[in-house]
């Protein structure tokens, strides 16, 4: 039987906090750049000082390569989905939740074929947010468009409103979810730019890492508001477009070579 104890003295806790703060300050003061392996988790709410985005160079995106899709599946537990008993494979492939689709487009007049990964485009003016009846679909201050699944009722208006077919509905009961990526039947979800990585101060996304590891370097991730970021430098160098720019959604994901 476990003994009962008095709760920790709040004053003692206050002292510990102060001591911890002192240590941090002491380390930072001499101008040493802190690049710890696991950056401290975010303790203040995100702001619009940054806007996360991706730049995809379609000329480097290889035909038949699915490194980004596979990495995304693993990072976000999408590979843990199981088909309902007796489901035909093709049907399940069309139904299960995916965050990135590899798309191949062909110009019928010239025959030119382009490959590209298509995911949530993280619009500045997201139609999915406009149509959501509960406020579940929202844009985080740092530009990430996502679904608060505690509020999502699974109506799927957002899926119909999205011009990029970027959202998925979870049709089946889930088991064995990852701690960092909760997921369950009855809600809509889509790419959230590896939000857990953002909040732990990591530098890239799973798809970017995988594409680089596969030797293609077709995807760059970064802050669209920082003029010195890698993504802004590349955007300034090469011509790029938004998919369906006629809709004036100001997407956070840009493509070059299309």
């Amino acid at each position: 039987m476990k003994e009962k104890h008095a709760p920790t003295d709040p004053q003692r806790r206050g002292f510990l906090d102060a001591a911890a703060a002192g240590v941090t300050a002491a380390v930072v003061a001499p101008g040493v750049i802190l690049h710890s392996v696991t950056a401290a988790p975010r303790s203040e709410a995100v702001t619009s000082d940054v806007r996360w985005g991706l730049l995809i160079d379609t000329s480097k995106c290889a035909d038949g390569c699915s490194a980004c899709v596979d990495a995304c599946d693993k990072e976000n537990g999408l590979d843990l989905q199981t088909p309902p008993p007796g489901a035909a494979e093709a049907r399940w492939d069309a139904q299960k939740a995916v965050w990135i689709r590899k798309v191949k487009v062909q110009d019928n007049q010239t025959g030119r074929v382009t490959n590209l990964p298509l995911m949530c485009q993280h619009c500045e003016h997201p139609p999915c947010v406009d149509v959501c009846p509960t406020g579940a679909s929202f844009k985080r201050a740092d530009g990430i468009v996502m679904v608060d699944r505690h509020i999502c009722i699974g109506c799927r208006y957002c899926m119909m409103a999205c011009p990029y077919k970027a959202r998925s509905f979870v049709h089946e009961v889930m088991e064995n979810q990852l701690t960092r990526v909760p997921r369950g039947k009855g809600c809509v979800e889509s790419c959230n730019l590896c939000v857990h990585r953002r909040d732990h101060g990591e530098e890239s996304t799973a798809c970017v890492d995988a594409c680089t590891a596969a030797g293609h370097e077709a995807i760059v991730f970064g802050d669209l508001k920082d003029p010195r970021s890698a993504i802004r430098t590349r955007l300034a160098e090469m011509s790029s477009r938004q998919i369906r720019e006629d809709l004036a959604l100001n997407t956070g994901v840009r493509y070059s070579g299309i």
Binding site: K2, T38, R42, S43, F138
Partner: protein, 157 residues
């Protein structure tokens, strides 16, 4: 006279018995904290115990909005933190889901007739890389330096 004395005696015995029973009850006051959990070897929860018993749902739900909308991951009230500290750990075995009737959250919720759907989506056992990261803040809040526990699937980051 004699009768009255006997009655008084009986009442006294009865009172003593009731008091003794109370003392025994207090001594093995029921706790839902399970053997083999990190919590079992710690002194206090992330907030005083009486507060946790009564208000844990408010703390978690407040945290939920802060995390999902504000991206705040440094809080001691994270759901991942509750699971990490309160899960029953058995060597070489996958722990039982924390919402099962025999486990920490499940046992008390069964007793109090509370039904949750949180674990339809949330991992009811710590799972995957980064699971310990999510619980770090909670451990620090109680002054517990987490020993990095690498489970069968927690192949680090």
């Amino acid at each position: 006279m004699a009768k009255a004395a006997v009655r008084a005696g009986l009442v006294a015995v009865g009172l003593a018995w009731v008091l003794a029973a109370q003392v025994v009850l207090a001594a093995d006051a029921k706790t839902y904290v399970v053997e083999g959990s990190k919590a079992a070897s710690l002194e206090s929860c992330v907030e005083p115990t009486d507060l946790m018993r009564r208000r844990h749902m408010e703390l978690i739900k407040h945290q939920r909005d802060e995390t999902v909308h504000g991206g705040i991951r440094s809080s001691k009230h994270s759901l991942a933190g509750c699971v990490d500290c309160h899960i029953r750990r058995v060597t070489d075995q996958t722990p039982a889901p924390i919402h099962q009737k025999s486990e920490f959250c499940g046992a008390c919720h069964a007793f109090t007739a509370v039904n949750l759907n949180c674990f339809d989506c949330h991992a009811a056992v710590p799972k995957g890389p980064g699971a310990d990261l999510a619980a770090q803040a909670a451990h620090q809040a109680v002054g517990n330096r987490p020993s990095v526990q690498v489970g069968p699937e927690g192949e680090g980051h």
